[in-house]
Assembly symmetry: C2
Homo-oligomer: 248 residues x 2
């Protein structure tokens, strides 16, 4: 069935189930192969990609809706999720449906609530829903063309993530349980889009006091075995809540 | 006319003009008499106070709506405005209207978009609209009881403002043009709700490189005349955009 047929068929049900005018779009970040990736989907019959998104049931809270939408795409529950901005310009989404009848539920003006998520890449099972024909990870520096204002939504999420590095710890949802300091630095460099000084990074990270140095090191490789760290979850959670101990 | 009569009378017009289910609430901060204040209003016939808010015209963007709502309360245009969170729990606002007929436009479920604003206290002209009988500044440590979830909205705005101190300059919209370092420190202390070390504050602020030391000092008073500073607007604007030069 074509996208048009599917949407027309679901239009009346959508009107019954969902709040009008409100949608959710999610920027889902995962870290793999030393590259920051974002989850994108493609509607049937379309050449451009979309961020995963959906609508809000009349019977659910906003955060519940975001969790449900992400669970339906990834099979992961309780994903680390942050609402970061609202996208409410006139005609941000309406143009996409200009060839559809005005009665189509999806054709109304939508104000979209943007969430970003940090997920463990290896735990995600990509799920293609009935109106899509693809769901894939793409590197942030090789993102394909995105529909509507989804490029802007992605960019705003990345900017927010960069700013939050100044007061929030990061990595627990993105790195494996045990990691080296250069691996943690690489994650920061990729999010920030710039190189960092190794000594400064090391000192700043130790001042945050959220790492536990392990007695084991990684075997294999020609070089001296690198020291492994893991996050001190109690201190990490406290820093997420109260801010890093280097701030004001 | 009572609040009930007024709202019932405006209900049909509201339905014509505004997007359903979406509202805006604003936390407007001003700094006066060494105290951080928030603008609150009181609906007619109510004992508890509200944050200033409103709805979104079907013909306007979200940010335009927030600007219009604040202009109507303060007479100030182009206020420094940041969207910070969305409040969308079920029944967050419906209970307030439980004694009203179900046909009342205001009684539907509303998802509210929270904005905070930083304004120059002395430029604000408090405007009481037709459904209110008061509009006043209240100190953040002496806030009266607020309706619905407005206390939560205020608290989230303050938390966001505190976190943003780690990567954004602050003060331009809150302090007079020329100020002393102790006055700037006092602003930080009031927002953060804690004392700061004077020497550390001074060094950190100079590293931000957003201040211009003036050749004049403030006259009067028994003590040594304190040095005056003003913001270097070009560098301040750049830091607002790119982050303070102390971050990652």
């Amino acid at each position: 069935m074509s996208l048009k047929q599917l949407l027309l068929e679901k239009s009346a049900l959508s009107q019954d189930l969902y709040l009008p005018h409100l949608s959710i779009d999610c920027v889902v970040f995962g870290f793999h192969d030393a590259s920051l990736k974002v989850l994108v989907t493609k509607f049937k019959d379309q050449s451009v990609w979309s961020l995963p998104g959906g609508y809000i049931l009349k019977t659910e809270n906003i955060k519940e809706a975001a969790n449900r939408i992400l669970f339906d795409r990834t099979g992961v529950e309780n994903i680390y999720l942050q609402q970061f901005s609202v996208f409410g310009d006139l005609n941000r989404s309406e143009k996409f449906f200009e060839d559809y009848p005005d009665s189509l539920w999806n054709k109304q003006r939508f104000v979209s609530i943007g969430f970003y998520a940090l997920v463990n890449y290896s735990q995600v099972h990509l799920i293609v829903d009935e109106v899509s024909d693809a769901c894939e990870w793409k590197s942030i520096d090789e993102l394909p063309e995105l529909i509507m204002d989804h490029r802007l939504i992605f960019e705003k999420a990345l900017i927010r993530l960069r700013k939050e590095l100044n007061y929030k710890p990061i990595g627990y949802n993105l790195l494996p349980e045990k990691f080296t300091m250069p691996e943690l630095q690489k994650l920061y460099e990729i999010i920030l889009g710039k190189k960092l000084n190794r000594g400064n990074f090391f000192r700043k990270m130790l001042r945050y006091a959220i790492l536990i140095k392990l007695d084991e090191s990684r075997k294999g490789g020609a070089h001296k075995a690198p020291i492994l760290y893991k996050f001190d979850i109690e201190k990490y959670e406290k820093a997420l809540k109260d801010g890093l101990n280097e701030g004001w």
